[in-house]
Symmetry: C2
Subunit: 328 residues, 2 copies
Amino acid sequence: MSIRIGIMGYGNLGRGIECAIRQNPDMELAAVFTRRAPEALRILTEGVKVYPAADAHLFKDAIDVLILCGGSATDLPIQTPAFAKDFCVVDSFDTHAKIPSHFANVDEIAKQNGTVAIISCGWDPGMFSLSRLYAEAILPNGTNYTFWGKGVSQGHSDAIRRIDGVLTAKQYTVPIEEAVTAVREGHTPTLSPRQSHLRECFVVDKEGADTALIEQTIKTMPNYFADYDTTVHFITLEEFNRDHAGIPHGGTVIRAGKTGWEEENTHVVEYSLKLDSNPEFTASVILACARAAYRLKREGAFGCKTVFDIPPAYLSPKSPEELRQTLL
Amino acid sequence: MSIRIGIMGYGNLGRGIECAIRQNPDMELAAVFTRRAPEALRILTEGVKVYPAADAHLFKDAIDVLILCGGSATDLPIQTPAFAKDFCVVDSFDTHAKIPSHFANVDEIAKQNGTVAIISCGWDPGMFSLSRLYAEAILPNGTNYTFWGKGVSQGHSDAIRRIDGVLTAKQYTVPIEEAVTAVREGHTPTLSPRQSHLRECFVVDKEGADTALIEQTIKTMPNYFADYDTTVHFITLEEFNRDHAGIPHGGTVIRAGKTGWEEENTHVVEYSLKLDSNPEFTASVILACARAAYRLKREGAFGCKTVFDIPPAYLSPKSPEELRQTLL
């Protein structure tokens, strides 16, 4: 019997989940839920229906794991605890500072209702978090570094688009090559934000807009840009659509650590991702976690979990015997 | 209370365990066991004694986890099941083809005696296995590649040392740069052994030895060298001791996979290690696994496990709350 997946929210991430289900023979798409008008939505999978988000609870017995594809700012803090009442759920909550409170909220509901909720799945938080944990557990005397990019930051792109005179924009976060190289060589520098990443912006301005003012506004924007070296390129809408349509991302987690009686030996552990599509890769991680949620639930587990709590074997469709034989 | 560690076998790996214990404040070295004469052994840790291997069972209640530092060829197939009777144990059994039978043997004894045994810990098998599993679970449509090196292969070095006229030798396994680059760029080539790695040998010949014959013997040695491009350098003992004293190793696991409705997007996941000391890094992984064995045992678990079965959080000394707050 395959794992019946429900998708809550059909944006880039929801569509990514739909595509990923097709690659996992032990899963099937049961239903898609939306807050938009269901009849206005066209999904890719034949024979699967779209329903109003408000009706999701009616599908309690038809869905094994509900994937929550909303945003971390306003959707997930409400949706994840709410749906954990009726469903095993997986989300990609990525506001790092608020993970402890989100975890506590979801854990309470999931425990009360005997469901499994896996939060903060994706690549950061997610695979990058795992890499940080494993590397730190192995090499206690060392330093973790995380570099993001080159890739599109949705938050920074949004911030630019809100500036007066901007038609559309995309911001790439780019790791500083010298910093990455130094860490990769086993050094443990103290890096400021400016020494770690630079920000490259491609902006389409509206007719008659003051480009000098836009550039100035971007470069001095607190939190988002002021602490970084930022370059701004004004381009045409045509160029924008031709060269900046994708949502690539990636990055690297590096830990350099010392071992030996006198700490005489250096080891460098690196985990890196080069992703053509940020939402599709995130969706792929989420789906592996959905498999784990399903199995944990069947074993009688409940409560909120993160990737830190999941035995790696639970993510794979292979049996323990097969895993030991083919991958160990 | 700290985790009391016993070391069985005091070679490079055993010494690596001893050094790693010093970096983990929640652990202490309880005893070292050896098959040599205990009084002939000088260990680094003050106040800790060396005992005959045959007396280990007397320390059943004084040791939480016994680390088995023997070799995979003849020691561990006997030692791991034998000691799993009285102890929670961790080994680094690395004969990939024999892992299933080793697992079965150890599992039976551990289950009968209520102990936890974690086998095949290290970096391959170990961290590389985890990387293969995670990447495959996330990207079902893709291909795993493992490249080893540049680093010293103990087995190949031994094979050369057994040749007539060889005083000592070291063999470096070197990944073929073009192959690594192709995979890193998202291609999925079919690679023969020769297209994946080359072998570089540094040989000190005995006086009067026939170097041409030695070189010929190495290059045509079946299994070890015949399927690879191999270079042989004859050097002096002085050069050998100056330039080839270390035991560096490392390598990289790369998976390129496709996502999207039409598989239009490519993702590259890479985990790589650059290690100054192969045995010390292996020891560091083993010790994190020892922590997991200790915790699993306290929770009432028993039987044989591998890294695939261990929730990542169990490897870290941090609490779940701390992990979520600092590393997720």
